[in-house]
Each structure stands twice: as C-alpha cells, then as structure tokens.
C-alpha cells in the first residue's frame, strides 16, 4: 500500500511536471521578430516600484522612453502595455500592478476607447498569456474572450498551442526557462527610420460616441485611482493615424473635466514636443522610434515634474544601481538594433 502511494505521488509529479514542461516548450516565445507577447510578463522581474505607470497599447510602449525619464528627471516609470491592449485589459493590468506597487501617477492612453468589444484572439493571447494568475487575470480573460475562445485554453495554454510541436525552433528550447528582455521598463525601442507618409482620409462614422462597455472601464479606472489616491492622466499620443476624431477628443475632454482628471491630446503639440516625423518614426508615422520616444519622454517628463512634484531619484541609492544596469541594457539594445538595421 505504501509503495502504491509513493508510486502514485511520483506519477502525478511526472505527469504534471511533464505537462508543465511541454506547455512551456510549446508556448510561443515572442523573442524574434514579434516581441509583443513577451512584454507583460517582464514586469514581474521588477524589484522596485515606480513613480509613474503608463498603461495602454502601442501608443505608450513604443512612444515613451522610460530611460529618458530617468536620465533627465530621475523619474522611475514603467509601461504596462501590449499590442492592441483593450481598455479592460489596461484596467485589469492596472488593478494587478497596484497589488505590487503604488505609483504616484498613472498615465492612460485613450486610443483603445474606440473598441467596445473583444477583437482578436492573437492580441488577447499576447496580452493575457504573460499575466500571473490572480482574480484580475480571470476577470480580464472573461472580458476579453472572443466568441470562439474558451476559458480553459487560458488556464491550460497547452490546449491552445499544442499543435506547435510541428513548428518548434531552437528558440523554443533556448528561451524555455529564461527569456531575454524585449523592453526596458516596458519601453520597446526601435532605431530604424521611415518617414511619415500620407495617411488615408478619415472615414466618417455613423456614431462617434464611445461604447458603453469601454466607458464603463474608464469609469472603473478613474474610481480605482481615486480610491488609491493616485493621479490619473489621460493622454492621446502624438500620432495622427489611426485617426483620432475631434468628436472623440471632445468626449474625453468633457469626461476629464467632469471627473477632475487631466487630459492631454498631444497631437497638436507635436511641434512643441519637437517631433520631426520625417525622422522620428520607424513605420511611416504609426509609431515613434527611439529618437522620437526620447523627445516625447523629455517633454512629458518636464510636464509631470512641474505639475505632480515627482521626486528626483537619481541620487537615491535604492535606485541608482538598478538603473545603472537598465541604462546599460538600453544602450546595448540601441546598439544591437542599429546593427540589425544596418544589416538590412
């Protein structure tokens, strides 16, 4: 009998261990050309909290250089963003992050207000798979799933990715347990340049008001920040496309006013920020490259320092060591990225 119990335990360990291993192996690693799926989980490696927390989609994680904020103002910041991060995903990520730290300022990019419903499985996966388990994640999954998706596939991602056994590459083994950083404090940098081109004319819409569901999560976000005593800043990154309709802008403005929030639409501020869209973007104007992101961070940093009285941590021994490393990584990334760009 005793033998059986021991054998049972060993077999259960073997089974769960095996499945866990296979799951890790089969999940996409997002370490090559597509890195957006690896961003969310990187946060858990942070050891210290941050003054400023950005949440939102690519309009934050590609446009604000967190290292510039540090170097110029001594602001510690982190961007919790992922591609096409929908507003409820931003909300739940904020909720989750607040369990780990308490920033002074939260910055939310409002573009995702335009989506009122779950969109695409691929983006859901990139945002959700990296999250640690918590009620926030459960609620996030429930809010994000498209009709075709199953909750169980999130609980056991192996069920979703099992057929990848046919496509495993050496990367899947190499990054099995340890992935390389793809961002610095959530900022994903690019050094290539592709000048802004012409954008198609904006399409007239039937209805310009944001969806109920999206607005509900904005309300929740506002309430959460209020409860926690955090300043919430709404921003719209200085990117002209996808088009940000004046009607949308008005709605956010009046919402901010009603709720006593700050809302900055940076599109008209482009010149003031010093952006040169023939140089500061890597994909013809959809996102900024590192040159643009540094300018934007520099501008925005000044703004929050002036208005929110953030402390300069550059001489704080708690941070100096950590950020020395981060800056090193940042410069290394720039260098590597430059090499790749040149090769191409």
């Amino acid at each position: 009998m005793k033998k059986k119990i021991i054998a049972s335990i060993l077999i259960i360990i073997f089974l769960t261990g095996g499945l866990w291993f296979l799951q890790r192996l089969l999940m996409p690693k997002y370490q090559g050309k597509i890195v957006e799926g690896a961003m969310i989980e990187e946060y858990y490696k942070e050891t210290e909290g941050h003054d400023v927390l950005f949440i939102g989609d690519c309009e934050v994680y590609e446009n604000f250089s967190t290292m510039t904020l540090w170097e110029e103002y001594g602001i510690t910041s982190y961007i919790r963003g992922s591609s096409q991060q929908l507003i409820w995903q931003s909300y739940y990520l904020l909720e989750e992050t607040l369990k780990y730290e308490k920033p002074k300022v939260v910055v939310f990019n409002v573009l995702s207000l335009k989506y009122n419903k779950p969109q695409k499985e691929a983006y859901n996966r990139m945002t959700l798979d990296g999250m640690k388990w918590s009620m926030s994640k459960v609620n996030d999954i429930k809010a994000s799933m498209t009709e075709e998706e199953d909750f169980i596939d999130y609980v056991f991602p192996i069920l979703r990715y099992h057929s990848r056994w046919q496509e495993l590459t050496s990367d899947d083994f190499k990054f099995l347990f340890e992935k390389e950083p793809v961002t610095v404090n959530g900022y994903y940098l690019r050094t290539d340049i592709m000048p802004q081109g012409e954008f198609p004319d904006p399409m007239p819409l039937d209805d310009y008001s944001f969806g109920e569901n999206a607005m509900m999560y904005l309300d929740k976000m506002t309430a959460l920040c209020k409860d926690e005593g955090i300043e919430l800043i709404l921003i719209k990154a200085p990117i002209e496309y996808p088009y940000w309709y004046p009607e949308w802008d008005e709605q956010v403005s009046s919402y901010a006013e009603e709720n006593g929030l700050t809302y900055i639409n940076m599109i008209p501020l482009s010149e003031e920020i010093g952006l040169d869209m023939s140089h500061d973007t890597y994909d013809a104007g959809l996102h900024l490259n590192v040159y643009g992101a540094e300018k934007l961070a520099s501008y925005f940093g000044q703004y929050i320092v002036d208005n929110y009285g953030l402390e300069d941590h550059r001489n704080d021994p708690k941070y100096t060591k950590i950020y020395e490393e981060k800056i090193k990584l940042y410069n290394k990334m720039i260098e590597e990225m430059n090499n790749i760009t040149e090769e191409e």
Partner: protein, 504 residues
C-alpha cells in the same frame, strides 16, 4: 418625395411628355424596343380593355416571355386598376399551377407563344392576347375615372416568393410602398435620365422593380439581358458595353460569375459605374476583383425582403475589407426603420445578434389569401404596447459592427447546432470563398445525419480546400463532407439553390 403622388403610373404620365421618343425598355433587339410613347399608348390600351371587359381590382396574370411587352402589360394592369401577377414559362410547372390555384384569376394576358402553353394549364378564365389588346381604343374617360377612384394602398402586383418551406407565398404590394421604395432607392443610387439599366432578374421577382419604376420616373432606359448570356461571362460584358449599360442591380451570383472566370482579363465593362448587388453575401475576394477592374465605379450592397417591397437597407462600399469580413448591409433607406430584436424581443445591445425587423411604409400588405402566414411574420411591434404598429420579421440574423453598421449574419435557419457547438454556416462559406480558385461555394446542414456539407465549384481540389480550412477553422467547424461540383445549381433568380444542394 413627391407627397401628392398616389399612383405609380404618374411617373409614366409625366415622363412621356418629356421623352416621348426615347427608348424605355429594350431587349437588345431594335424591333422589340419600346419608347415611352409606345409604352404609354400600349399600356393604356390594355388598361382600357381590362376595364371594358369588366375586370377591376383583381389579379391579372401576365404570362409572357421576358420581353419589353411584358412590362407594358404590367403597366396596363395598373392603369386598369388591377394588379399584375407575373408568371413565366421558365417557372417550374408546379409553381405556376400553385399560383393559379391560389389566385383563381379570371383573366390572363399572354403573347402568341404563351397563349399556346396556357391551354395546357389548369386554367379556365379568359386569355387576352397582348397583340390584340394593344389595338383597343384608349378610353381616357374610363382610365381617368379609375385613377380618381384609386387610393395608394391599392395593390399593384403580387409576386410569389419561395420561402424557406418551399411553398410559394404571394406578396401583395401597393402603390404607396412601391413609390416609397423607388423614391428612396433612386436617391441612394443617384439614378437620372441618363441611367441605362441592365435587367438580370426574371420579371416575376420583385427585384426587377429596381429597374422598371426608376426607368419611368427618370425617363431612363432598361435593357433586358437575355438569360442565356449569364452563362457566357465574356459575351455578357460585351453586351453591357454594346448597350452602354452604366447601372446594374443584380444578385451576387450573377456578378461573381463574371469575376470568378477572369473575364476582366479579356474585356472590361466600359460604361458601368453604378453597381448594386444583393440577396446574397458578396465574397470579398470577388468584390475586390470587381473594384480593381472598375476603380471608379460605385458599389452598393442592398438588402431587403420581398415582404418589405424589395430592398430596405443599403451600404455604399467605402473602404477596403479584409478577406474574412463581410460587406455590411449598412442602414435603412429613408422612411424605413430597422429593429434588431433578440430572442427576448428586446432591442439588441452593441454587437449582440438579433433578428432584423422592418418597420415603415415599405412594408407590403402581406400574403395573398394567407392570413395565417401573414400574421406569423407581420406582427405587432413588441416594443410598442400602446397602439397598433406592424413590423415585418425577416427571419434574418443581423448585428451592428463597431462602426454601428448593420451586418447580415445569416438566415435564422443557417445557424445550426452541431456537435454541441453553435455554428454559423455563413462563416464557413466566408472562409471557403476566400480560398484562391473557388468560384462558388455553399454550405448546408443535414439534420438527420448531423453533418455539415460543403459544395463548391472552382479549379481547386478538395485536398487543398481541407488543408486551408484546417488552419482557419476550429475542428468542429470543418465540414463533414466536402464535394466539388462542376457548377452549383441556381434558383430561377440566379441565387445558389440551397434546397437542391441539401437534397443531393
């Protein structure tokens, strides 16, 4: 909209003064052309004859070849205060017999050939020969009196729809709903006196309203395309060019037939700049071929049931679509309201699917001699418990996309439950249609055997279709049978014949 107008024939009365010698209806053969003056004269002659013989406010069967004269006979009935019921020699026999049984008409207008055929039918009323009828002396007084007595809720025509059960039901439409429809359709599609239509649908479907009445309203021209041309795409396009056709309102299959055979590599429509389509989902791949070939043309998706007088929604294609998108049906015409009702009879929330229901003047009167079926689908608006207000339940499932545009999802009966999953047959079709080499495809569900069956035609093997679908669809949505056919069977008005496929 001209608020004074009570009768559709007022269009012709006015236009004949403006363009008496312009060709109104043609079938490509000059001898058959009808100018507005001829049309006016012949239809008033027929109207006079009907009235003299004592036919009034009753169905008149028009059993004629697809020919300009048939149109003149239709209008003759309306002048005479009767309503026309078009039938056609190509209609399946059981259908014509059923129609005659339902109507028990006293009079039928035929041409020489069809008069012959009518003898073999179970019909004992009077047969009026078209050629004889137009010789009747026009009795302006009679016709004037008839016009004065008519009100705009008097019927104009009855067309029979097949309905999902297969038993044809006669939809009765009146002046008011047709005028409402024609005014709003013309506004959306910007018809004018230079418009040259090519008619595709048989004259016994309501779809031909789109050409007939705007032609009268604007003094435009309609060319009736010989049916056999729809099997030869290159010849068809040449025909359009020859007749300088600039506007078509066709079913989707007729358009995809042209694009899927690579016709545009040989010949392109030179004058065509206004393309309206409907009745089926336009596969994006095919739509793109059209848009590429005719970059300056306007494309409009029309949607609507016969029960709401032809079309009730439209969408002007204004952007590129992803291959797995469907073209929205947009929003209603002016003076029509669309309600999306969910299963609990509440208005659908954002993105929720529900049945498309139509409210407004465009509603027809209902089904002829079938109060029971009429009551099933023409019902009291469930959102209104204060006064009577009819809505028509289309049986189509729709939803609003993130832009607020109405999208057709499927017929209620194409939503199936298979292996415990709710499946949209249309979704499978969308994915199949996007595969290179597919010409037409159609998915049907075999309930008795619980099997999804996919039929397609094109230059691609089933193996390849399956390989692609395996990547695109979850397992349970992969059809249980996939069969390649040389061509898919079509119904009389050119749509894919699902019922026939289901019984294969």
């Amino acid at each position: 909209m001209n608020m004074q107008q009570r009768n559709v024939m007022e269009y012709l009365d006015k236009t004949v003064l403006q363009y008496p010698d312009k060709v109104a209806f043609s079938n490509g053969d000059i001898k058959s052309d009808l100018t507005f003056a001829e049309l006016y004269k012949s239809s008033r002659a027929i109207g006079s004859l009907l009235s003299i013989r004592g036919y009034y406010a009753e169905p008149v069967v028009v059993f004629m070849k697809k020919h300009p004269n048939a149109v003149s006979a239709f209008f003759g009935c309306v002048y005479g205060g009767c309503y026309y019921v078009p039938i056609d020699e190509e209609m399946p026999k059981f259908r014509t017999e059923l129609i005659l049984q339902t109507l028990k008409p006293r009079v039928m207008i035929c041409d020489e050939e069809t008069a012959e055929l009518s003898r073999g039918m179970d019909y004992d009323g009077e047969v009026i020969l078209y050629d004889e009828a137009i010789k009747t002396a026009i009795d302006d007084q009679r016709l004037g009196k008839i016009r004065d007595e008519q009100i705009d809720t008097d019927p104009i025509y009855i067309v029979f729809t097949s309905g999902s059960t297969g038993i044809p039901k006669g939809v009765v439409a009146c002046h008011r709903s047709v005028i409402d429809y024609i005014e709003n359709l013309s506004e959306v599609l910007e018809f004018n006196h230079e418009t040259r239509f090519a008619n595709q649908t048989p004259l016994y479907f309501d779809a031909c309203l789109k050409e007939l009445y705007p032609t009268l309203k604007f003094g435009a021209t309609t060319v009736i395309v010989p049916k056999q041309l729809f099997m030869f795409p290159v010849k068809l396009v040449e025909f359009l060019n020859e007749h300088k056709v600039n506007t078509v309102c066709w079913v989707v299959s007729a358009l995809t037939m042209i694009s899927s055979f690579k016709t545009f590599e040989k010949v392109k429509p030179e004058y065509l700049d206004n393309i309206a389509f409907g009745s089926e989902v336009f596969p994006i791949k095919q739509l793109n071929i059209w848009r590429e070939a005719l970059p300056n043309a306007g494309f409009t998706n029309l949607y609507g049931p016969t029960e709401a007088t032809g079309m009730c929604c439209y969408f002007k294609v204004d952007r590129e679509f992803d291959l797995d998108d469907t073209v929205p049906i947009g929003g209603p015409f002016r003076n029509t309201r669309i309600l999306l009702l969910n299963e609990k009879n509440e208005l659908c929330k954002d993105g929720e699917e529900g049945e498309i229901c139509v409210v407004g003047t465009s509603l027809t009167m209902g089904y002829y001699k079938n109060f029971e079926k009429t009551r099933e689908v023409f019902v009291q608006n469930p959102l209104n418990d204060l006064y009577p207000e009819l809505i028509y339940r289309t049986g189509d499932i729709g939803k609003r996309n993130s832009r607020g545009e109405l999208c057709f999802v499927s017929r209620k009966d194409y939503q199936i439950k298979h292996m415990g999953h709710r499946i949209e047959l249309g979704e499978i079709e969308v994915n199949v249609n996007n595969i290179e080499g597919i010409r037409h495809c159609c998915c049907v569900y075999d309930k008795e055997k619980d099997k999804i069956r996919l039929f397609y035609s094109g230059d691609i093997e089933t193996g390849e279709v399956i390989t692609v679908l395996k990547d695109k669809l979850p397992r349970y949505m992969i059809p249980n049978k996939v069969e390649k056919l040389d061509r898919l069977p079509l119904t009389a008005n050119g749509k894919i014949d699902r019922k026939k496929l289901a019984s294969m």
